[in-house]
């Protein structure tokens, strides 16, 4: 055998050294190909490993159904506060702030934490999500000034979270709403707010500011994800896109319930949603009433959620049932998205969504427990 191989080598005109070099080269090439092919999935996974472990650790600290049930059965809001002191995530804020404010601070910190941890390919979207705290603070500031609240009362409404908290807090001694808008000059929100000052001056209501901020936030959020480059960003796009579509549908439903027409609604719409593109949104806004909106949604996934509630709406006349169903749809779709990429963006989306639900539920519980004899069964219905 050895002689045969040696004969073949010599018949090829190769020396032993040359043959060895060729074998070596072949191994290097084959090895390089294998390493490149095998490394590709690793490169996708690697940036998510540490963030995923961190968010999953926090996910493990979220309240389960049994704990939420115990909170629902609490006697009063003090019991709820004491119960939450047992959770390290809430305890530190409860020593400093009232219950609802502590919950808002926790949520703001969660957005900031996720924005810090998220891998660079998706970080911009989570940074936009973290702007929610700033936007909420600006809204609170505007409402406070419209109501003529003084500095101390205004500061109590602000949530110490978000990148602009210091700047916004400094504006709490502003005299008027327009002073607040002027004080925000230099921030990304100034042009958004200045544009609707004429509407505010005409109506005397801060609603146009709130709507403009909501629209700006959701458009920016959608824009941050609209060019998905891989499966992770595709999932993120769908998660955020659903939120934008749901915000649009809720706005249209409420507007139609109030009898508003296309011209009144269209300035507040995010013009090009995720599944609901411009033409579809136009259809929805031109519908005669709530039933017409639901019919126009046929063919979209939102119709499946809303159509079955029409009889109940016809009985009660309240669009709140649609809003609750849409909220549940968002939670379910986030849960489904979180399972699609378990070593990718899935756990981050899953945690963020569940944390939002937890805070929302805790706020509902806190509010209910402040009222004497609030029925527990009614409270359970109100939870998401």
């Amino acid at each position: 055998m050895a002689d045969e191989i040696a004969t073949i080598i010599s018949s090829l005109g190769l020396s032993n050294e040359a043959f060895l070099a060729i074998v070596l080269l072949a191994f290097v090439v084959i090895g390089a190909i294998i390493v490149i092919v095998a490394s590709r999935p690793i490169l996708d996974i690697y940036p998510y490993l540490q963030p995923n472990a961190r968010v999953r650790a926090r996910k493990g600290r979220l309240f389960d159904e049994k704990q939420i049930s115990e909170l629902v059965d609490a006697n009063n809001v003090d019991d709820v506060t004491n119960y939450l002191r047992g959770s390290p995530d809430y305890a530190e804020h409860l020593d400093e702030y009232p219950l609802e404010k502590a919950l808002d601070v926790q949520l703001g910190e969660t957005y900031d934490m996720v924005a810090r941890l998220a891998p660079s390919s998706v970080q911009s979207s989570f940074k936009v999500l973290a702007k929610q705290s700033d936007i909420d603070n600006i809204k609170s500031l505007l409402i406070a000034k419209e109501a003529g609240l003084d500095k101390e009362a205004t500061e109590e409404l602000l949530i110490p979270a978000g990148s602009l908290y210091e700047d916004i807090s400094r504006l709490s001694d502003a005299e008027t709403v327009t002073d607040v808008v002027a004080g925000l000059d230099g921030t990304e929100y100034a042009p958004v707010l200045e544009e609707v000052i004429p509407q505010y001056e005409n109506t005397g209501m801060v609603l146009p500011f709130e709507s403009a901020l909501n629209k700006y936030y959701l458009e920016k959020l959608l824009k941050s994800t609209e060019s998905p480059a891989d499966e992770n960003t595709q999932i993120l796009y769908s998660y955020i896109g659903n939120q934008v579509d749901v915000a649009n549908i809720k706005l249209i439903l409420r507007a139609k319930a109030d009898g508003l027409d296309y011209d009144a609604i269209s300035p507040y719409m995010i013009s090009n949603g995720y599944q609901l593109r411009e033409w579809k949104l136009k259809d929805l806004m031109e519908s005669q009433d709530v039933t017409g909106v639901i019919s126009s949604l046929e063919g979209t996934k939102y119709a499946d959620v809303l159509t079955e509630l029409l009889p109940e709406y016809n009985e009660t006349g309240s669009v709140a049932i649609f809003e609750k169903a849409l909220d549940k749809f968002l939670v379910d779709s986030a849960k489904s998205a979180s399972m699609k990429k378990p070593i990718g963006i899935g756990p981050i989306i899953g945690y963020l969504s569940q944390k939002e639900v937890e805070i929302r539920n805790l706020k509902v519980i806190a509010r209910a427990k402040r009222e004497a004899d609030f029925p527990v069964s009614r409270l359970r219905e109100m939870l998401v």
Partner: protein, 161 residues
């Protein structure tokens, strides 16, 4: 200059492939498991010991590759001054190295991914520890197959005879 027989030189390539690729897989796997563990420990100090266990799991592939490489070096005469290998046995030695090298590469990477996921699952729910170990141990089998075949090749290919 030391004269080395062609078969011995081929066995040296086999040894390099054995530890090179097995070590690469083990390193990538361990890196992934450790990255997940660091994240877990950052949130929960009690995860340190469990994180170490899962980070150590993908070490085995490098150990298999190292053992095979040492055996090849000893029995090819590179270490210990033996008589050297025939060209045929040298080619077999490359197969030996490829067997554990590539099996270790895939096994190490797979184990690293499973271990990192397990760490994430455990930090969320400590009851997942035993199940995490089982799932993380599964990709070990490929490295064991590669190791066994490498041993068989050495025995029946005339290297360990």
């Amino acid at each position: 200059m030391v004269e080395i027989a062609l078969g011995t030189a081929l066995a040296a390539i086999g040894a390099g492939v054995a530890i090179g690729f097995a070590g690469l897989g083990s390193g990538l796997g361990q890196g992934m498991a450790a990255a997940g563990s660091v994240g877990a420990v950052a949130e929960d100090n009690d995860m340190f010991a469990r994180g170490i266990i899962f980070s150590a799991l993908p070490e085995t592939q490098a150990i298999y590759g190292f053992l095979i490489a040492i055996l090849l070096l000893v029995f090819s005469g590179l270490l210990g001054g033996g008589s050297g290998l025939s060209t045929t046995a040298g080619i077999v030695a490359i197969g030996v190295g490829a067997s554990i090298g590539f099996a270790g590469l895939g096994s190490g990477m797979g184990q690293g991914i499973a271990a990192a996921s397990s760490v994430g699952a455990i930090v969320e729910d400590t009851d997942m520890f035993a199940r995490g170990i089982i799932f993380s141990a599964l990709p070990e089998t490929q490295a064991i197959y590669g190791f066994l075949i490498a041993i068989l090749l050495m025995v029946f290919g005339g290297i360990l005879a």
